[in-house]
């Protein structure tokens, strides 16, 4: 397998659109295939790594918090970081710093960094390809 470096740009906040799930599916697929992945989170997507996401029960379905095991995207990021480490791939996750500041979500899971659009451009230049998944 010819290892590539792929950059994904995400914009959607968690819990708002199925683009988030599709993005994670793509990142997961790329890592499983052994590629290195860079994720630049822009706008609402910077909340994906917010460390204070919490699970909750689901009374409609009669499930307590543990039973519901509600997805928190921060856990998905951590799981993908672990998967990457195990498979010898690299996953880098960078939040747009200004987007983090205006949303107050600076408390992030370990390994997530902050940067700027210029960093995105440099990442793209250093990658084999980039896919922007924009919000609407």
């Amino acid at each position: 397998m010819d290892k590539k470096t792929l950059t994904f740009v995400l914009m959607d906040a968690p819990y708002e659109n199925s683009r988030t799930t599709t993005a994670f599916r793509l990142i997961d697929s790329a890592l499983r295939k052994g590629h290195d992945v860079k994720v630049f989170a822009y706008e609402g997507a910077v909340a994906l790594s917010f460390a204070r996401q919490a699970q909750h029960p689901n009374a409609v379905h009669g499930r307590d918090a543990a039973q519901e095991d509600h997805p928190n995207p921060k856990e998905w990021i951590v799981a993908l970081q672990q998967a990457a480490a195990q498979s010898g791939s690299k996953l880098e996750w960078m939040n747009c710093g200004l987007c983090v500041d205006e949303r107050g979500v600076g408390e992030v899971v370990a390994g997530v960094t902050r940067g700027s659009p210029v960093d995105l451009w440099k990442w793209s230049e250093a990658s084999d390809n980039t896919l922007v998944i924009a919000t609407r």
Partner: protein
């Protein structure tokens, strides 16, 4: 050699008051400022960003007034002023009743039928 990027902007007026910008036009400015070789294509509702006379001023919530309402046409003109080629889809303008005289100077019209040829000139095509 650095890549050539085409930034396609379609969604319009999404959170532009809260952000005091269109964040996709903004990121194009920021990347250009950092040295990226970019061009911009306005399509769909975003063709209206080139329209003169947009005025989002005057908003206040209680005593909290907006300091800098977005100046989208100004930001588009600013990109042009920085040497960025900003294309606008003619058909999308016509469908929205926009005439050439409604638009800021310097926009490069392209027909929908000409988009395939336009895309060919770029290494990366990012659709915002």
């Amino acid at each position: 050699m650095a890549r050539k990027y085409l930034q396609i902007i379609e969604t319009a007026y999404r959170a532009t008051i809260e952000e005091q910008d269109d964040t996709c036009v903004w990121i194009a400015h920021a990347m250009r400022g950092g040295g990226a070789d970019i061009a911009v294509l306005l399509r769909g509702n975003a063709v209206n960003y080139g329209c003169k006379g947009q005025d989002a001023s005057g908003l206040a919530f209680g005593e909290k007034r907006q300091s800098h309402p977005p100046d989208l046409a100004g930001d588009v003109a600013g990109l042009i002023g920085k040497g960025v080629e900003v294309y606008v889809v003619e058909d999308d303008c016509a469908e929205r009743g926009l005439e050439r005289s409604d638009l800021v100077d310097g926009l490069k019209p392209v027909k929908r039928a000409g988009l395939a040829a336009l895309l060919a000139g770029y290494d990366q095509v990012w659709h915002w």
